[in-house]
């Protein structure tokens, strides 16, 4: 019973220890704490209101405050309050704006980070699967050349090693990929395909040395080259030419893959790789990059990727 009352006393500051004198000082302290809490709450309420309210409303209220101050003859207090309000308005307004900007920036950064992660994960999954069909066919060709033409077998195997080696660092990620790395990967790939397809594939790599240090996303050129062979040249009995080129156009790095194959099929199934390139370009550069597919007057297909021209920071060789 007794303990019950005491506990009620401490809980409720409005009736401090009615029956138990020992609890009184505690009740007063409690009441003071409550009052202080109330003032703090009111102060922050006032602060928030000042921060949010428009300047026009604040001026109006200040004016009313001055009239009331005139009536109650408290001009000094009114002046102090009004000046304090204006200072708070300036300071808190800035703080609120800063908070909002910070929130937006965080949200944007999070979205971008998320997109990047998703894209990178998907990219890694893609890179992990080096076309088994390509690998087995190449190994079968090497196997045949070992018997008929050992020096060529060795050359082809070296191309394969070079291809696999240059595909590997891209899986590990790390430093930003350069156009040079992408071109090397594709050259090795084209050398292999040229041995297999013989006169049906005439590869031309025409990338100026000076552009090889430019930043260029990984596995995109590879997709274009593979598409050109798979959907352009392989289906054509007589094969044709495949050209990789790069130039700077209006401050953008434009890398193209041109083939003289059967031409682009508007309803074909080859859209997955291209859709993927498109999606990744969008995630990495938003509207500052694009993939353009066009039909050259002589037939075949031309695919161009445009990205902002940027020199890669010099990195130690892999």
């Amino acid at each position: 019973m007794n303990t019950d009352q005491r506990s009620r006393g401490t809980d409720n500051a409005t009736e401090p220890g009615k029956s138990d004198p020992a609890s009184r000082p505690m009740g007063i302290r409690q009441a003071l704490r409550e009052i202080r809490k109330g003032i703090v709450v009111m102060w922050w309420g006032f602060f928030d209101w000042v921060a949010v309210v428009s300047w026009k409303a604040l001026l109006l209220v200040s004016f009313l405050g001055l009239i009331l101050a005139g009536i109650f003859k408290l001009p000094t207090l009114a002046f102090v309050l009004i000046i304090a309000a204006f200072i708070i308005k300036v300071v808190a307004g800035g703080k609120r704006r800063a908070e909002r900007t910070a929130n937006e920036a965080t949200k944007r950064a999070e979205t971008e980070q998320l997109e990047r992660t998703v894209v990178e994960a998907r990219m890694e999954a893609l890179q992990a699967q080096i076309e088994p069909h390509f690998l087995f066919n190449t190994l079968a060709s090497i196997d045949q050349l070992i018997q008929t033409d050992p020096p060529r077998a060795s050359k082809m195997q070296q191309s394969l090693i070079r291809y696999l080696r240059s595909a590997m660092p891209q899986m590990r990620g790390g430093s930003r990929p350069t156009l040079g790395q992408q071109v090397n990967l594709c050259s090795a790939f084209l050398e292999i395909m040229a041995v297999r397809m013989e006169e049906r594939l005439q590869p031309v790599v025409n990338v100026p040395e000076g552009l090889k240090s430019a930043v260029f996303p990984s596995m995109m050129l590879q997709t274009l080259v593979e598409n050109a062979i798979k959907h352009g040249l392989e289906p054509r009995a007589e094969g044709g030419r495949l050209e990789i080129g790069a130039e700077i156009v209006d401050g953008q790095l434009a890398v193209h893959v041109l083939d003289t194959g059967v031409g682009f099929m508007p309803k074909g199934e080859g859209g997955v790789g291209l859709a993927n390139v498109r999606e990744r370009l969008k995630a990495l550069y938003s509207d500052r990059a694009e993939l353009i597919i066009s039909v050259p007057p002589a037939g075949g297909t031309s695919a161009t990727i445009k990205v902002p021209y940027e020199i890669a920071p010099t990195t130690p060789p892999a």
């Binding site: 066919n137 392989e234 289906p235 682009f264 291209l274 066009s294």
Partner: protein, 257 residues
């Protein structure tokens, strides 16, 4: 009982090295087999089999012009078929239940010997028509057979002096203009000759809606639909200032939910 004539074969593969490899292995495993010809694509293979009438054809599955499955369909019942492939796991699982044999590249001499042994036994019978197997294969490999209807995914249009392939996902709307149809994207506009009437049949109805006799809009590009002072619905598209009128016939598309 008169002795059987020497067995004959045709080899079809688009890569010469692979043809050479098969021929070399066959010579070791089956010296009596005479190779009548080499084809480098499916069409050639069919022509060669029909003119030379070999007992056996070795068909690579992925070849230009016409692939190995299609060639086998055309030749069903006329010749014994052995498929050759580098890596088609679906195909391999299908062969395991089939009447035909298959070889994996690079051709392993012992495996080739086994194939030859099976072929020797099978030559006494009529060639299998492989109906079930081929249907199964063509379905799995996506060659021929029944396919769901395919809609246009790219639009071929002239932009200035060039012909460009524009993915439909980049297109905001199509609009009829005199003899041409204008293709509008966020970055540029292009002209095509195909009239709206024909276009609408080739576009995916889930992706594009016709809202007027002369206008087709990509549904995802629609930002909002408002009404003008005469009560007509006006479509606003993301990334373009142009306002597109909805004719009464298509009013139902934008009914309030």
């Amino acid at each position: 009982m008169h002795p059987l004539p020497a067995p004959t074969a045709v080899i079809a593969d688009d890569e010469r090295l692979m043809r050479v490899q098969i021929i070399d292995r066959l010579k070791e495993a089956w010296p009596e087999l005479s190779i009548l010809g080499e084809a480098s694509n499916g069409r050639e293979a069919i022509a060669m089999v029909r003119s030379l009438e070999p007992d056996i054809v070795f068909l690579d599955i992925s070849m230009p012009e016409m692939d190995g499955i299609q060639a086998a369909q055309a030749l069903a019942g006329q010749v014994h078929v052995v498929f050759v492939t580098a890596h088609d796991q679906y195909a391999i699982s299908a062969f395991e239940h089939g009447a035909v044999d298959y070889l994996l590249k690079p051709a392993d001499p012992e495996r080739v010997a086994l194939t030859c042994q099976r072929l020797r036994a099978r030559l006494k019978q009529e060639p299998d028509t492989m109906t079930d197997l081929l249907a199964q294969l063509s379905q799995r490999l996506g060659a021929g057979g029944l396919k769901p209807r395919e809609y246009m995914r790219w639009v071929q249009a002239s932009v200035g002096a060039n012909i460009r392939m524009i993915p439909t996902s980049d297109i905001l709307f199509f609009r009829a203009e005199d003899k041409y149809t204008r293709v509008q994207t966020q970055r540029f506009e292009a002209l095509i000759r195909k009239p709206i009437k024909e276009l609408i049949d080739e576009l995916d109805p889930d992706e594009f809606w016709q809202i007027h006799r002369s206008t087709v809009v990509r549904v995802d590009a629609v930002e909002q639909v408002s009404r003008d002072f005469r009560g007509r619905q006006i479509v606003h598209v993301k990334g373009s200032e142009e306002k597109l009128e909805v004719s009464r016939t298509f009013n139902h598309l934008f009914k309030q939910m």
